[in-house]
């Protein structure tokens, strides 16, 4: 038992936890931005796949790594635009539109991959982002060495969380986004455009999700393969509730899940001979459900979430 807890004091454990948390943080930020504006985006799982695929493909075809990230973000934005068109302009059901986008983006990405590489059995590899390894960070006590082992996208994710927290809490734009998720009529009565705010939130949110997907192929692994997203998008939807739609709490939630996941990986090597590994795989999900149960009981959903808004109707 003590060995199981000793893991928590190893630097390598925290390096892994933060690495696992990064795509979840990006996805959760994207989901919560849309939901704060009143639009649930269940396209997230598919947008992860599409971002992972297009970002990686761009780099494979010769683009720089950062251009790959931009391509992934643009892919996400396009799917976000589609989702916003369906749910804001056409005011369709957000569940159905989102699930449709997940199916479309997932299948479309796999299809494009097969068309591009019809004969390969081994996925082609790229040179992924390297850990930043900044010397000043290495020499910072406590978290320094752990953070220096992360790739630039992790810092991008943390920066995005801080920026989003500031924008939502402190700027006129943030006020308007929070207001449109609560009562679109209040926003319209103040002369602001409900549609513009919701389009913006969904498009930017979807771009963040796609960068989360790109992290998988460009930082965590160095290739694209089927099933690699593996439900991470759905975890983000749950983490959004867990974080009560707050960016900084999303950092905590993503880290918590990352830590559970990294922990179970190490437990497998510790006790793998005795206990089936599948049980360990369940650990982060079970603990997430437990944490979510505690958080979601008090969840204060944005009041206008999932309610389509048609101008001039009540």
């Amino acid at each position: 038992m003590s060995e199981a807890l000793e893991i928590l004091f190893q630097a390598s454990f925290w390096v892994a936890a933060i690495r696992i948390a990064t795509p979840l943080l990006l996805g959760t930020l994207g989901a919560l931005l849309g939901e704060r504006a009143g639009v649930l985006n269940l396209g997230i799982e598919g947008i992860f796949v599409a971002g992972a695929m297009t970002g990686w493909l761009a780099v494979y075809l010769g683009a720089s790594l950062w251009s790959g990230v931009a391509v992934a973000a643009a892919t996400g934005a396009v799917f976000g635009l589609l989702h916003a068109f369906l749910t804001v302009t056409l005011a369709l059901s957000q569940h159905v539109a989102g699930l449709g986008i997940t199916l479309l983006a997932t299948a479309g990405s796999h299809f494009a991959y097969r068309v591009a590489f019809p004969t390969l059995t081994q996925p082609p590899r790229i040179e992924p982002f390297a850990p930043v390894g900044w010397a000043w960070l290495e020499s910072t006590p406590l978290l320094g060495p752990v953070l220096a082992q992360q790739t630039p996208l992790t810092f991008l994710a943390i920066g995005a969380a801080l920026l989003l927290a500031f924008v939502l809490a402190r700027t006129p734009l943030g006020l308007a986004i929070r207001a449109v998720g609560d009562d679109p009529a209040a926003v319209e009565a103040q002369g602001l455009s409900v549609a513009a705010l919701r389009y913006g939130a969904v498009v930017v949110g979807s771009a963040l999700m796609a960068v989360g997907g790109a992290f998988l192929t460009m930082s965590a692994f160095n290739a694209f393969f089927f099933g690699m997203v593996c439900g991470r998008g759905w975890i983000c939807v749950a983490l959004t509730v867990f974080a009560s739609w707050r960016p900084l709490k999303a950092v905590a939630g993503a880290l918590l899940f990352g830590a559970f996941d990294a922990w179970q990986l190490r437990l497998q090597t510790l006790a793998g001979g005795v206990v089936p590994s599948q049980l360990f795989l369940m650990v982060p999900y079970l603990l997430s459900i437990a944490a979510l149960l505690l958080a979601a009981r008090r969840a204060d959903y944005p009041r206008a979430l999932m309610k389509p808004w048609r101008r001039g109707e009540r």
Binding site: P172, A186, G191
Partner: protein
């Protein structure tokens, strides 16, 4: 027109002999929705410092007119002119709310347009600062809002989320929102519908302060008493047309009612009648949760009696109504219908025992909008032989019954097959009323039975409630309309924070006394009357 517009100016001593400059002029506004004429050639003028009442029944075109004024709709014909900084009247571009805001037109909607998750301050400054700035409002904004609030009697907690504030405070924030944007013309759409009498008095004081400050106020209402209390001039709309535009001085209430409805409206009169046996008895009852809880409530309601329950909504009325409807069981004490506690053990039992129910929110609890009129009328008696046989609906019998109800209750509907959601509020309420009165109930629960209804529909509902009383039914009338309570009830009890004061014979009460009790001042009533 000009002669009439100048007359109210003479009424105000402070204004002196000079005519006040016009702030707003509507010229020949017409608007149709398909075949329906919403507005037809409406002219209207508002001067600086003037309070104008816009009076009309539901569907008379008040809301359409103000929506055109505020740019939500574009008029088919006519124009909206607003005074600019130099006092020249300039036409507004139609259909553009931003332009109306910019020109200084502020609107306080009947349904507040406030984000509950933002604070009062955030709601007020929302949309006034460039989006890219790193601050929600300029540094002086807060002081300006506090200053406005103090001057206009609109004090309110600015730093609490609006969702935690009461309706009165929310309304003050709505008004501050408009004033912060320097609105010179303020439109208040049925502003007192949600307020206690004391809060309404405060609002009237604010409205007068606004006018004294040189702003123009349009006060929309269908309550004659409050129009008289606050306005100088009244414009009456009927079926989209302006039928009167005159100073209030010298215009009687009954004349206004006739102008609004187009014919004489007679409020039914309650005749004395000896009460019968006890129908409903509550003894030391505690039930409900949170704000909707009643505590230690004891009362008796007899056959042939109307017992009114007054109170600001959210003081336990919902718990009381749910108990009587069989939706809630008491945690403490006993609730008996005709001596039986089992009779109110479930909604179905309550219906079987002869409880007719008019719920507070007719659209949520009273009708199923997607079902047609005949189906809605049959909802409480699905298993009864007149509705179904061997598990199959008897469509023909249901339709016949619906046609009888349409006839008897004057429901304006194309036929028994129309989905109820397409009916107007008043007609929907008549459907609910028809179902509740079907089978001559022993106990009738009437929870806000006339909320949102116009003068004619209100009089109709009142008549039916008195008819039920005459027939020997016991009526529990829960209402926020004190005139209604005083006019219909034999006795009135006031509920505050879940506790009941009274019941008192209604002859011994008046509006200010009830208002004090509603606010929790037991001392509002002389000791002798409390004893009675």
């Amino acid at each position: 027109m000009t002669a009439e517009a100048e007359r109210p100016a003479a009424r105000q001593a402070a204004g002196g002999a000079r005519a006040r400059p016009p702030l707003l002029r509507l010229r020949g506004i017409s608007k149709r929705f398909g075949e329906v004429v919403a507005n037809e050639a409406v002219d209207l003028e508002l001067a600086a410092g003037e309070i104008l009442a816009l009076l009309g029944e539901n569907g008379a075109g008040k809301t359409t007119l103000t929506s055109i004024l505020f740019g939500h709709y574009a008029a088919d014909a006519g124009e909206v002119l607003v005074a600019d900084q130099e006092g020249r009247l300039v036409a507004l571009p139609p259909g553009r709310p931003e332009a109306a805001l910019e020109a200084g037109i502020g609107m306080v909607h009947q349904h507040f347009t406030l984000a509950h998750n933002l604070t009062g301050f955030e709601n007020i400054v929302l949309g006034t600062e460039a989006w890219w700035r790193p601050r929600p409002a300029p540094p002086g904004a807060r002081r300006r809002i506090e200053e406005l609030a103090r001057r206009m009697g609109l004090e309110v907690e600015l730093d609490r989320p609006v969702g935690q504030l009461g309706v009165g405070a929310r309304q003050r924030i709505e008004i501050l929102k408009a004033l912060y944007r320097e609105a010179r013309v303020l439109v208040l759409d049925e502003p007192t519908a949600v307020l206690t009498p004391q809060e309404a008095e405060g609002l009237f004081a604010t409205v007068r302060a606004l006018a004294a400050d040189g702003r123009g106020v349009i006060f929309i209402s269908h309550k004659l008493a409050e129009v008289e209390a606050v306005a100088e001039r009244v414009v009456v709309l009927r079926q989209g047309r302006k039928v009167a535009d005159r100073p209030l001085a010298g215009t009687s209430r009954s004349e206004l009612a006739r102008l609004m409805v187009g014919r004489e409206v007679r409020e039914p009169i309650r005749r004395p009648r000896p009460p019968g046996e006890v129908v409903l008895a509550l003894d030391g009852v505690g039930a409900g949760s949170g704000r909707d809880r009643i505590e230690d409530v004891t009362l008796e309601l007899r056959a042939g009696e109307i017992l009114g329950i007054a109170g600001v909504s959210g003081n336990g009325q919902a718990a009381l109504a749910a108990l009587v409807a069989g939706l809630l069981r008491p945690e403490r004490g006993r609730v008996e219908l005709l001596g039986s506690t089992a009779a109110l053990s479930s909604p179905a039992a309550a219906v079987r025992a002869g409880v007719g129910r008019i719920p507070e929110d007719r659209e949520r609890d009273g009708v199923v909008g997607e079902l047609d009129l005949a189906e809605n009328l049959a909802l409480e008696r699905l298993a009864a032989p007149e509705t179904s046989r061997l598990g199959f609906l008897r469509r023909k019998a249901m339709r016949a019954r619906a046609r009888r109800a349409i006839e008897a209750f004057g429901i304006r509907a194309p036929g028994p097959d129309v989905p109820v959601r397409l009916l107007s509020g008043g007609n929907m309420q008549k459907v609910v009323l028809a179902r509740a009165l079907d089978g001559a109930p022993r106990l009738l629960l009437a929870d806000q039975p006339t909320r949102g209804l116009d003068v004619a529909a209100t009089a109709f509902v009142h008549e039916r409630l008195l008819e039920a009383r005459e027939r020997g039914a016991a009526v529990l009338l829960i209402s926020e309309d004190l005139d209604e309570l005083l006019g219909l009830s034999d006795r009135i009890a006031v509920v505050h924070r879940g506790r009941l004061a009274g019941p008192f014979p209604s002859e011994r009460l008046d509006v200010p006394t009830i208002g004090l009790l509603m606010a929790g001042h037991e001392g509002g009533l002389p000791a002798a009357e409390v004893a009675a």
